[in-house]
């Protein structure tokens, strides 16, 4: 099932299938298509959204998280 990263529930895991915008910013922090991630926290209004990828936490704004598509397992 596809979801945007900004709608993932706490503790939910999935695989990144598409990054619509800010690809470069996210790639250089380790968030790339094909990567497995886990939702750590998602704060309302502007974020931050924090996900765990390869044991590393990555934080981003809610608007950027909305541009990332994740396939939920």
């Amino acid at each position: 099932m596809l979801k945007t990263l900004s709608t993932l529930e706490f503790g939910e895991t999935g695989r990144v299938t598409e990054i619509r915008e800010s690809r470069h910013e996210l790639n250089c922090m380790g968030l790339r298509t094909g990567k497995k991630l886990k939702m750590i926290t998602r704060q309302p209004i502007k974020g931050p959204v924090v996900v765990l990828i390869d044991e590393v936490e990555i934080a981003m704004g809610l608007d950027i998280a909305a541009q990332v598509l994740v396939d939920i397992e």
Partner: protein
């Protein structure tokens, strides 16, 4: 010295030069550069500690300083500092720098933290794959710093095509690069 924020560049800089740049446990501490001198053998190096950046496309003022400094020092040796617990993230920037044909060496810092987290890093293999010197360091204790200083003169311009070929080869023979738990990678067992 270049690397992601919070990988220990300033701590390593202090160890190399005896300076006292501000060091903290959160990213974004260094917002401007600091320069210092390192005497190694008969060579005097000027070491520049640069704010951390995730890529060469700056997103804030501190990252802009980092990118401008790199461009100003075209041809100089770049010491790429990686956090041994977050190598993959750091390699993105490392490759961007290597692609621009700067002579590079890699400091694999925070090996103490990697050890605590039971992350095993095969530094000789990274060195073989990238074709540039890779030195394991722990800036807070000073481990590997002398070795790192000695490696500066061995800096190499990376051959990106050769790296691609070596990566393809090692993907075809992955068993050669796997390590068993507790392996110190002395390579005497094979």
């Amino acid at each position: 010295m270049m690397g992601n924020p919070n990988v220990g560049k300033s701590a390593l800089f202090n160890r190399l030069t005896g300076a006292d740049a501000v060091v903290s446990n959160y990213p974004g501490t260094t917002v401007d550069y600091t320069a210092g001198k390192l005497i190694e053998g008969r060579t005097i190096y000027e070491i520049i500690d640069i704010p951390g950046t995730y890529s060469l496309e700056p997103h804030d003022a501190a990252e802009k300083v980092a990118v401008l400094l790199l461009e100003e020092h075209r041809g100089d040796v770049v010491m790429i500092v990686l956090d041994a617990t977050k190598i993959e993230r750091g390699l993105y920037l490392a490759f961007e720098i290597m692609e621009q044909e700067y002579p590079c060496i890699i400091a694999l810092n925070m090996t103490d933290v990697a050890h605590d987290k039971q992350i095993k890093v095969n530094a000789p293999e990274i060195q073989r794959l990238l074709g540039i010197p890779v030195v394991e360091t722990t800036a807070i204790s000073g481990e590997g710093v002398k070795h790192l200083a000695g490696a500066i003169r061995k800096a190499q311009v990376a051959d990106m095509d050769a790296i691609g070929r070596r990566l393809e080869e090692s993907e075809q023979n992955p068993e050669e690069t796997t390590l068993t738990p507790g392996c110190g990678n002395c390579r005497r067992c094979g």
